[in-house]
């Protein structure tokens, strides 16, 4: 299991491949991999977004994400989990979050990947501030899953 906060842009698929190679290389005991990537859009609530700043609570954020992952592993019997989340200043098109889950069968993989994302969005301490054309604003609330 691995959870990490990144201050620099990352390629989520390259990270997934590298993690799979290191944590699962040579094993053929998992049948399902489910992955989700959230990407920064250039448009939100009717406005063009030029850039975004993602703030987090160092220490609590990592601890909370590790708790989410541990719970998911126990509940769904997962083989491996990788969670990466960007913080700092970022541009449209850049990945914000990667959640990847490896398990024996597809039902657990789908359920766990989604459960981790929902918990992350509703409880992990991250906050987005968007730079619009002329001013900036805090995103007030995440949409329901």
């Amino acid at each position: 299991m691995h959870v990490e906060i990144r201050e620099q842009p990352f390629d989520p698929w390259r990270e997934l491949v590298a993690y799979q190679a290191s944590a699962l290389d040579g094993s053929a005991d998992y049948g399902a991999t489910a992955a989700f990537v959230g990407t920064m859009r250039d448009f939100n609530e009717g406005d063009t977004v030029r850039a975004m700043r993602l703030e987090h609570y160092p220490g609590m954020t990592e601890k909370h994400l590790e708790g989410i992952v541990r719970e998911a592993v126990e509940e769904h019997g997962l083989r491996e989990v990788l969670v990466l989340h960007r913080v700092g200043r970022m541009a449209p098109g850049e990945p914000i979050v990667l959640v990847a889950v490896w398990s024996g069968h597809r039902a657990e993989a789908f359920r766990a990947c989604r459960a981790i994302m929902e918990d992350l969005k509703s409880k992990a301490p991250f906050w987005k501030k968007e730079d619009l054309e002329t001013d900036s604003r805090w995103v007030e609330r995440n949409t329901a899953g």
């Binding site: 703030e55 994302m117 992990a124 301490p125 987005k128 805090w138």
Partner: protein, 77 residues
């Protein structure tokens, strides 16, 4: 004999404080830690509270050495 109080995101901007250490004397709950730093500003229902990196409530006890944080609804992912 101190408690560390932190504010994040829009709440940090509104209160105008990032982090402050306060005397633990006379502060026995997270809500009292808010009042000790934010003064007359009421602790809104929507504000989330954490004590030592775990979610808590206004009546959660705090003591010397604890870290109490206040922040708006989270918007990660």
């Amino acid at each position: 004999m101190t408690i560390t109080v932190k504010f994040f995101a829009s709440l940090r901007e509104r209160v105008g404080i990032d982090e402050r250490r306060i005397d633990a004397g006379g502060v026995s709950t997270a809500g009292e830690a808010w009042s000790a730093v934010a003064g007359a500003e009421p602790l809104a229902e929507t504000v989330l509270i954490a004590v030592n990196h775990g979610y808590a409530r206004a009546d959660t006890p705090v003591r010397d050495g604890d870290e109490v944080a206040f922040f708006p609804p989270v918007t990660g992912g």
